[in-house]
Symmetry: C2
Subunit: 312 residues, 2 copies
């Protein structure tokens, strides 16, 4: 093969009470990476589109290039690749933008070299990319690679599990144009919590997994909002979080959480009609405050990153 193109979906990490352990892939939005074979070893980034010029072309500092390089090493390739990265996801939006770039690059490079590796073997390469910008964790890269709703109990592929995706689950996402750097969103978290808080948090997580298995979206919405540790610490970084939640609920949403480290907010609903209305209402809240925002209503992506095109 001489050319491959792969797509990796956006992801909603945390899902409220599942801080650092849950993530779900989202249909529609995502990043696309094109790779071309080149004779010399190593990775060159030819172009990045859609980032407003903010991402580094230096392959040592770019998630996609680091992940691509890791796959090249893993398969022992003598040749290298030229990368073109198309950002479909805004940076620092809480939608797993950096993870999606790395995942798309890893999948594209693997395809270019004849798909020598099974998809699950690509996780560590994706995490190497992720580590370069936001730490070695899998709550975005895992679901972006594998799809579905994933439980992440560690960084090894054997520690990542699919949970059931309720049949009627619909998502409404709103991304306001405010900056919430992931580092800041991490810095405001409490270093320690009380034992009582731990009991409440574990109870809510248990209830959330139970709700997923039962396909009970109302219970899922209630459980995911029971987070009394992370959201309270971050709420002040998300303008009008309370107002958006009220508007979403009034429009029929079963629950709303911060997506990843924000500022994207994710509401869950039990019908496409309601999700469309919820997305609209969330946007109106920001409109009224003079904050630009983008919305989408979508579903969980069950498949994760995919090869879109492959040319000999």
């Amino acid at each position: 093969m001489t050319f491959a193109r792969a797509f990796a979906p956006a992801t909603v990490a945390n899902v409220g009470v599942g801080f650092d352990i849950l993530g779900m892939a989202v249909q529609g939005a995502g990043d696309t990476v094109e790779v071309e074979m080149r004779a010399e070893p190593g990775v060159v980034i030819e172009s990045i589109v859609g980032d407003g010029g903010r991402l580094p072309l230096d392959p040592e500092k770019n998630t996609a290039a680091v992940a691509a390089n890791a796959v090249l090493k893993q398969i022992g390739a003598g040749q290298g690749v030229i990368i073109r990265l198309h950002k479909g996801l805004p940076l620092n939006s809480g939608l797993g933008s950096s993870a999606a770039s790395g995942v798309a690059a890893a999948v594209a490079v693997n395809a270019l070299f004849g798909s020598l590796l099974p998809k699950v073997a690509l996780l560590s390469a994706c995490l190497e990319g992720e580590a370069r910008v936001s730490g070695y964790h899998a709550d975005n890269a895992g679901p972006s690679l594998l799809g579905g709703i994933t439980l992440i109990t560690g960084t090894d592929i054997t520690q990542i599990y699919h949970l059931p995706v309720p049949e009627d689950l619909e998502l409404a996402l709103v991304t306001p144009a405010v900056d919430v750097p992931t580092a800041q969103a991490r810095a405001v978290l409490p270093k320690s919590i009380s034992l009582h808080q731990m009991v409440e948090q574990t109870a809510a997580v248990a209830r959330l997994v139970d709700a997923l298995y039962r396909g009970d979206i109302a219970a899922m919405g209630a459980a995911m909002e029971q987070d009394r540790v992370v959201e309270p610490a971050r709420a002040h970084l998300m303008p009008f979080l309370g107002e958006v939640r009220i508007a979403a609920k009034e429009a029929g949403a079963c629950g709303l959480v911060i997506s990843g480290a924000g500022p994207t907010l994710c509401a869950i609903c039990n019908s496409p009609h309601i999700a469309a209305r919820v997305a609209q209402r969330m946007k109106e809240v920001y409109d009224e405050q003079g904050i630009v925002s983008s919305v989408q209503h979508t579903r969980v992506d069950r498949y994760g990153a995919q090869v879109e095109l492959l040319e000999a």
Copy 2:
């Protein structure tokens, strides 16, 4: 009716990583309460058998009597009851002994007055009894009343949920004759934990619920043992915990946890044959150390407290 007898099963609270939120009812062992109608209001304890004379006959201080009284008030009974309590469970053993007495009493009194209340309406009465001796919490009374494996997210009946019981789940329990007062087992717990510990604990709880739904006893055993908060703090109160765990695993157990606040230890297995062998091996570990112990191999009780006899 003039006479009723009810039985309430022993319970294994916590199930390792599910501290204060999980409990399971156990077949076989339990407490039995007989109640007789009397003309005067209020509760009289006529006898307690099997407690070695340690439990108070004062109805204000006795779990069974407090629960019985609460049911009498709930149904607005003009008459009272005479109670005979048969302890099938040792005190302070980690098997929910006090909860079983209260639950059996509540169920018996309700039956005596024509079962005016549905079973679920008896929880608050059971918890009043439990509160008199060990705090207002439902992780023993809930499963003893309702049976099965329960998720307890609060003290209201609407906050208690049944989780699936894996078809092949077998239990091996060993109760060494050492004293671990619940108050002491509570006092050694950390007041606060790190955010990282919370993430690990929520991941393990999610995995445990996932394993129950999939009927995966090996995964259940691995997940329940992932507790890095409660067991490490209490381990020194449980003599030879490490040795018993090793012996249980060598005999085929999938995992072992402290039952409630101990000293009973509960191993889970995937066949009755293995559970019998595990129970035997656990007992041998204590035998070798000169510690008297009792063992049982059993299963989850799916039904909870039951009326055994009712006479007009």
